[in-house]
């Protein structure tokens, strides 16, 4: 099954998914609810250390950079050069003019995005998707939503494998896929079987899960067992308190600013 989960046995891997999710939420809120420019950098550094310990640092930075770089570039372009905030301090730089506020704004958004994506990816890298879904359904996520989450993880590799197979089949029937005209003419023979296959799959899948008692009444059981501990439970409580504190603090300062 394709997911970005990386098999491992590190302590991060072994944590209960909810512990990881709570921690992730705390870190993300900390960067989004504070305006100090250093916070995202600090949080990112902490994340990198954790990733290093979990043995996923290299994959993580690679994936994050691929995700973040294009966005960052366009942010700096838009906020820093093209649409500076009104009344911004100009910073002339050769033929172009940047603004201090524009750059700071672009930096904050980019840094927050960096933390957001790094945190989420770190959780996904170290948590088996089925464990994640199971932990959430245990806490009240509808089973059908959980099922759809897991199925959608399978769809991408499934479609990729089928697309490759279809390409093989039609090329074996002499279909040329080179040249502009060739590509256009190849669309129907390639997309047709893919779409029909997907439609048939949906129908079959609906029958398959129903015939395998998906909608049976009565209590459900699970093969998966998630390891939890009192320490983790306490840590989650502390982190939840931290989240609450952050939110209260943010609301309080917002009110304060308005009063002042």
């Amino acid at each position: 099954m394709l997911s970005i989960y990386t098999i491992g046995t590190s302590s991060l891997h072994r944590l209960h998914p909810l512990t990881k999710l709570t921690g992730a939420l705390l870190l993300i809120l900390a960067t989004y609810l504070t305006n100090w420019p250093l916070v995202p950098v600090l949080v990112f550094a902490i994340l990198l250390i954790i990733a290093r310990i979990a043995g996923v640092a290299q994959r993580l930075t690679g994936t994050v950079l691929r995700l973040i770089l294009p966005v960052t570039f366009s942010l700096f372009l838009i906020q820093g050069i093209l649409f500076p905030p009104i009344g911004a301090t100009p910073l002339p730089l050769g033929p172009i003019t940047l603004t201090y506020e524009g750059l700071l704004f672009a930096y904050l958004i980019a840094a927050r995005l960096l933390v957001l994506s790094t945190t989420i990816l770190l959780v996904l890298f170290t948590t088996h998707p089925s464990d994640l879904v199971f932990a959430l359904t245990e806490r009240g996520l509808p089973r059908s939503v959980g099922y759809i989450l897991l199925v959608s993880l399978q769809i991408v590799p499934d479609m990729t494998a089928r697309a490759t197979a279809i390409l093989d089949v039609q090329r074996s029937r002499g279909l040329a896929t080179d040249g502009a005209l060739g590509r256009v003419r190849a669309i129907i023979p390639l997309i047709g079987p893919l779409v029909v296959g997907a439609l048939v799959d949906v129908e079959e899948r609906a029958m398959a899960i129903e015939s395998r008692a998906y909608t049976a009444s009565g209590p459900k059981t699970s093969l998966r067992v998630l390891a939890d501990s009192i320490a983790q439970h306490r840590a989650r409580t502390v982190m939840l308190l931290g989240i609450a504190a952050l939110i209260i603090w943010r609301i309080a300062t917002a009110i304060e600013i308005r009063i002042v």
């Binding site: 197979a165 029909v196 079959e204 398959a208 015939s211 395998r212 008692a213 998906y214």
Partner: protein, 575 residues
């Protein structure tokens, strides 16, 4: 044992919504507890519909007009919801991948999927999963993804998942379609064991030899109606099966030929199993002096080494994942040869096939197609010489009519319009599809759809036709068409390469046997000239075809004319 039948259909009829002809008419069928009832019939006769009805898929998933009554394990299947019926009856269909949950990433969890939904306690769940995996001999695959398995392995997985439910009733729709011969034997042992422990079964199946050795009763279905039912030996020897184009077990045809040659007692009932055939011949000391002529001996096409169409020279292939699928395979195929490519799942057959038209290029060694090296020739160019029909026909069909589907290949090859018309008409006729030329391929029964896929490649008129598992899901009449097609190609100097688990088809239709094992070609011999050592290798790797098993059981001397009775090359099925 209870006296009331566990499966009890009374005058059940069903028509799919939007159709006028009923798929099932007035079916009355009872199966007692622990009995195995086999349903045989041509493709499209209603076997799958009957299985679906017994499992409650009809009317719950397929809409239509239904009448009569159906009771399975004391449940009225017409009214009980599927989610409740699953506690009483499990259906295993022929297409395994479509029966996976889609939400499990290991074989182990896939087998447990339904158990979780039914709230089976965890400890019991694990015990049941282990038992099922072991029963289907897939314990070694437990941590693999269900999607990374071969067709045969997936088939075993969905059977395991059904058995884990411990259903009192099991409906199996062509359970052997994707299995190799050894796995088929193992499955019949398992099913017999289950029946002994009280499981009641309805099995729709084309493989008559398999049915003969397994079933307690056989029902023959034709055009939605049960036309005969009774004990296997009575039904399967009935000559009416030939008129219904269902065919008869090979033991029947062989015994009849032996009878003509005075080697089968005139008063003994015809045999339906290998054991009965062997016992009958052994017990009869008829004179063997009479010359026995093989009914339709075909001339053996010998390898035309001076004019080969395909040359594979010591090729190795390693997938990007690091799996070494081929390690030094060499094969020369002459014009007009009929080659069987045999081997267990994962032996490297599919990888080898993908080398034949340049879809894959060897890591080392080279492949010459009509003298051209595939590493410097485009796939499109190779496609002029080698046509490949892949196993999963869903990846192939896209046109809105059968005729358009057939025109696609030759048009890609740049043939003229009149030439295309001729080729398409000839391909349609060869596979008995002329009447379906203007139908949508997906409106045809799955078995005929497979014939469309074959016809579409046939219409390209290539020098080599490669068929990957062409007989899967086909009835005997269609298999006979296929055999005829291969002969015709061969007589026109065109070669056929067939990858198949269907050993009987391979030995009866093809003249050269190539065995792929662990990425190497461990055996390459004319089909009728296998020596003891080669037979032993075949036997342990994939099993032996029916005729050879009979000849071995009788310990026939090579000079015994009976050999030609048992090993005749032509399947005798009325078409």
């Amino acid at each position: 044992m209870q006296i009331n039948p566990v499966i009890d259909l009374q005058h059940a009829s069903f028509s799919y919504a939007g159709t006028t002809t009923p798929a099932l008419r007035d079916i009355t069928l009872t199966v007692l507890q622990g009995q195995i009832c086999a349903v045989i019939g041509r493709a499209g006769a209603g076997k799958s519909t009957l299985c679906a009805l017994v499992a409650g898929f009809i009317p719950h998933f397929f809409q239509g007009a239904i009448s009569g009554s159906a009771t399975v394990d004391s449940q009225n299947v017409f009214v009980r919801p599927i989610s409740e019926l699953v506690r009483h009856v499990a259906l295993v269909g022929g297409n395994a991948s479509g029966q996976l949950s889609g939400a499990c990433d290991t074989v182990f969890e896939e087998v447990g999927f339904a158990l979780q939904n039914l709230g089976v306690p965890r400890a019991e769940m694990i015990e049941r999963i282990e038992w099922s995996l072991n029963a289907l001999q897939i314990t070694h695959l437990r941590d693999r993804s269900p999607y990374a398995l071969s067709g045969g392995q997936q088939q075993r997985l969905v059977i395991a998942a059904a058995l884990a439910l411990r259903p009192p009733v099991l409906a199996l729709d062509e359970p052997t379609a994707q299995l190799d011969p050894l796995a088929i034997e193992e499955l019949s042992d398992l099913l017999r064991e289950l029946a002994k422990n009280g499981t009641t079964m309805l099995i729709a199946e084309h493989r008559l030899e398999w049915v003969a050795a397994l079933a307690d009763s056989v029902s023959v279905i034709d055009a939605g109606q049960i036309v005969a039912e009774g004990p296997p030996r009575e039904i399967l020897t009935d000559p009416r099966l030939e008129t219904l184009r269902i065919g008869r077990p090979r033991s029947v045809t062989m015994a009849q030929r032996a009878k003509d040659a005075g080697r089968w007692p005139a008063d003994l009932a015809l045999p339906i199993t290998l054991e009965q055939l062997v016992d009958g011949i052994r017990g009869h000391s008829g004179s063997s002096t009479e010359a026995i002529h093989s009914p339709a001996a075909r001339p053996l096409q010998t390898s035309n080494a001076s004019n080969p169409i395909l040359q594979i020279e010591n090729i190795a292939y390693t997938y990007p994942s690091g799996v070494q699928a081929l390690r030094g395979a060499s094969l020369v195929v002459g014009r007009g040869e009929r080659v069987a490519l045999l081997g267990r799942n994962g032996a490297g057959k599919s990888t080898l096939v993908r080398h034949l038209n340049g879809l894959l290029r060897p890591s080392s060694g080279r492949v010459l197609v009509a003298g051209q090296d595939t590493s410097t020739t485009s796939v499109g160019r190779c496609a002029r010489t080698v046509g490949i029909v892949f196993q999963d026909i869903r990846n192939q069909l896209f046109a809105s009519t059968v005729r358009d589907e057939l025109r696609f290949g030759p048009r890609n090859l740049g043939k003229s319009k009149s030439e295309i018309d001729t080729l398409v008409d000839r391909a349609l006729a060869a596979l008995d599809l002329t009447d379906a030329a203007d139908s949508h391929p997906y409106d045809l029964a799955p078995a005929r759809r497979r014939l469309v896929a074959i016809a579409a490649v046939l219409a390209m008129d290539t020098d080599v036709l490669v068929l990957d598992e062409p007989t899967a899901g086909l009835d005997n009449a269609s298999i006979a068409l296929l055999a005829q097609l291969v002969y015709d190609l061969s007589s026109r100097g065109k070669s056929a390469i067939v990858v198949s688990h269907d050993l009987d088809f391979c030995f009866e239709t093809l003249d050269r046997i190539v065995l792929v094992r662990d990425g190497e070609l461990t055996l390459d011999s004319p089909a009728n000239m296998l020596d003891e050592a080669e037979l032993a290798i075949l036997h342990e790797t994939i099993g032996l075809p029916f005729g050879l098993r009979a000849a071995q059981a009788l310990a026939l001397d090579a000079s015994d004319p009976l050999n030609s009775v048992l090993l005749a090359s032509a399947p005798e099925i009325a078409t």
